[in-house]
Amino acid sequence: MKKLFHEFLKGIIKENPTFVLALGLCPTLAVSISLMNGLGMGVAATFVLICSNIIIAMIKNTIPEKIRIPCYIVVIATFVTITELIMKAYSPALNRALGIYVPLIVVNCIVLGRAEAYASKNSVMNSLFDGIGMGVGFTLALLLISGIREFLGAGKLFGYTLIKGFEPAFVLAMPPGALLVIGLLLGFFNILKERK
C-alpha cells in the first residue's frame, strides 16, 4: 500500500510531468487560458493516461517488442477517441474551447512516455497509481498556469471577477503570455531548487 501511495505521490512533485520532466507542453500552453479549460484538459488527459496505463500494463507481455510503439499508439488513440466522443456529447462548449488539442492528446508525450517508461515494465496496480499520480500532477500544473493566466490576463478566476478596477494584461491570455508564464515559472522553480 505504501508503495502504491509512493507511485501516486511522485507524479505530483518529484517527477511532475510538466515542470520536472517538461513533457506534454503543447496542450499545457495552448489550453491554459482559463481555469475551466485547464481543468477540462487535465481531467481528459488523466482519464486517457489511467486507462492506457492499465491496458498497456495488461498486454505488455503479449505484444512483440518491435512494434510496441504503434501498439501503444493504437491503445492511446482509442481512449482519446472515447474521450472526444464523450466530451462532444456532454460538454460541447468545452470541446469547442479545447479544439484540436483534444485529438492531440494522442501525441501528448506524457501519455506515450508513461506507457513506454513505466506501464510496459510494471504491474497493472502500480501502473494504475502511476497514471493517477501523473494525471493529477499534470492537472495541478495546468491549474497553476491557467490560474495565473486567467487572473492576470482576464482579471478572473473560474470566470468570476475578483478585484474591481484591476485592468488585466490581455497579452497573458494570448499565446505569448503562455510562453512567458511557463518560462518564468520554470526559472522560479530553478531558484527554489537551488535554495534547497
Binding site: 517538461a22 505569448p176 510562453l179 526559472g187 537551488e194
Partner: protein, 202 residues
C-alpha cells in the same frame, strides 16, 4: 481558389498562427533541438517534408475512406497510424538508399512521429477545408499548401531560435533562467513580435 487565398494561408500559417509560437505544436522538439543551427535546419527540413506528405495522405484518407463510410470519428486513430507508418517507411527507405542523407536528416524522422505539428496539421486541414463532411472547392490544394506552410513556419521559428541560442552561449545569462526558461521567454517575445501580422488582409 485564387492567389489571395494562398497568400492568406501562407501569412497565417507562417506568422500569425505560427505552428510553434502560437499553436504550440512541436514545442518539445523546438526547445530540445534549437540549440544549434545545423541540426535545427535538418530537423526543420524533415518536418516540412513530413507535414506536406501527411497533409496529402490524410486528406485522401479523410475524403475517400472516412467520409464515404461515415467513419469521421476514427479520424484521430487512423491519421496517427498512417502518419506513423509512413514516417517509419520513409526512414527505412532513406537509411537503405542514402546513408549520408540519413545521417543528416533521417535521424530526426522517428522523433517526428510523435511531433504534434504533424498530426495537428492533418486535423486542422480536416477542420478547415471540409464543411459538413464535404470538401470545399480547392480543398486538396489548400490542405497541401497549408502543410507546406506549417512546415515553413516551423523552420522559421527554429532557425531564428537556434541563431539566438547559439549567440547566448557567449552571454552571462543568470543561472536560474539558463537553457529552458530563457528559451521560453525568447519564444514569448518572438510570439509578441509576430502579433504584428494580426488582422492581415490581402
Amino acid at each position: 481558389m485564387n492567389v489571395a487565398q494562398f497568400l492568406t494561408i501562407f501569412i497565417s500559417a507562417v506568422f500569425i498562427y505560427n505552428v510553434i509560437l502560437s499553436r504550440f505544436l512541436g514545442l518539445c522538439s523546438f526547445i530540445a533541438i534549437s540549440k544549434e543551427t545545423r541540426p535545427a535546419i535538418a530537423m526543420s527540413l524533415a518536418v516540412i517534408f513530413v507535414t506536406t506528405m501527411s497533409s496529402i495522405i490524410t486528406w485522401l484518407i479523410y475524403r475517400f475512406l472516412l467520409i464515404p463510410f461515415n467513419l469521421e470519428y476514427l479520424r484521430t486513430i487512423s491519421f496517427i497510424l498512417v502518419i506513423a507508418t509512413f514516417v517509419q517507411l520513409v526512414e527505412m527507405i532513406i537509411r537503405k538508399i542514402a546513408p549520408p542523407f540519413y545521417r543528416f536528416f533521417g535521424i530526426y524522422l522517428p522523433l517526428i512521429t510523435v511531433n504534434c505539428a504533424v498530426l495537428g496539421v492533418a486535423v486542422l486541414n480536416a477542420d478547415m477545408f471540409f464543411v459538413k463532411g464535404e470538401a470545399i472547392p480547392g480543398s486538396f490544394y489548400y490542405s497541401v499548401f497549408q502543410g507546406v506552410c506549417v512546415g515553413l513556419g516551423y523552420m522559421l521559428a527554429m532557425l531564428l531560435m537556434s541563431g539566438i541560442r547559439e549567440r547566448l552561449d557567449f552571454c552571462e545569462v543568470p543561472k536560474a533562467v539558463k537553457e529552458f526558461p530563457l528559451a521560453f521567454v525568447i519564444a514569448a517575445i518572438m510570439s509578441m513580435a509576430f502579433m504584428g501580422f494580426n488582422g492581415f488582409r490581402f
